[in-house]
Symmetry: C2
Subunit: 153 residues, 2 copies
DNA sequence: AAAAAAAACTTCAAGCATAAAGTTTCATAC
DNA sequence: GTATGAAACTTTATGCTTGAAGTTTTTTTT
């Protein structure tokens, strides 16, 4: 009977999801709090800077919203505030006057490097109780779920 | 060497977290979209109604914000909108004129029953690729993380 | 070449979320 | 019994987020 779909496994999956949601929210909230306390920033801003740090030549606004899977209007606001703080610069795209390129400034790059190092340390501390091989197995299962959802789009 | 804490397991844990975050966000977004499409509601509203459904005698505003781990002001707004829609009633607490009790109405209870049934079906479909025993193991690891964070508060 | 359609943004309205400040009510101290 | 402090909320300011509507520029059709 192993592997069959019963009403009981449905409940079990629901419980898994609720626990997963609870745990990830707890981690997320801890990260938000740390970002706020140590860097006076937010998770969305960190996410944007993380994305930009992987593209030294910059990303168009629409590419950025595609990478982060958030709406266009959302990206507009976050980039605007990051630009005000001097962490991001908006450049014009030569052949297209509609588009604009968002790019980390040197200040932004330095700031993000510090944030990323701290972030890795926080995560490492939080996941201390999870052995490495267990971590790999969990990631595998979660990817299965993520892929399942991507296919539906 | 198994189980020792090295720089490599730190990176591995970071990757695990990023994948977990990506997967749970994907599931969360799918649920949000379904709630919107099928019930014209939101995840925060669903969460509030789920909490209230477990307390037939109602919850005080402060208790509700404690259960959901969100701020007081947040609860005020969500309950207000749910009350406008007739799903929640605010009652006075006999001995204390400061406090108020939030409680599902009959309409609210019926509405939530429909939402909860649909929700379980969505989750079951999304987690179809995850076998039951794997699910149990993942939940175990996630609980370890969640407990770790609770202790710090 | 003019018209229509599409693309790349930005703006807007509404809801969610927090922290901080403000109100009213209750409990304690003196 | 009056003052002090705490508790239970609400309000406000700011930022995140979306979907929808609006603008400008580019591309495609005809």
């Amino acid at each position: 009977m192993s592997g069959s779909t019963t009403a009981e496994t449905s409940k079990e999956r629901l419980r898994l999801w609720l626990r997963a949601l609870k745990a990830t929210r707890a981690v997320e909230n801890a990260v938000r709090e740390n970002l706020r306390r140590d860097f006076a920033t937010t998770l969305p801003r960190f996410d944007v800077m993380a994305a930009l740090s992987q593209y030294p030549d910059g990303l168009k606004m629409s590419e950025l919203s595609g990478v982060l899977k958030v709406s266009n209007g959302n990206v507009t606001g976050i980039i605007e505030r990051l630009a005000e703080d001097g962490f991001v610069a908006r450049e014009k795209v030569p052949g297209d006057r509609r588009a604009s390129l968002a790019k980390l400034t040197d200040t932004g790059r330095a700031e993000f490097a510090a944030q990323a190092a701290a972030h890795e340390a926080w995560i490492n501390a939080i996941f201390e109780g999870v052995p490495g091989d267990e971590a790999a197995r969990i990631a595998e299962s979660l990817d299965t779920v993520a892929r399942q959802l991507e296919d539906k789009d």
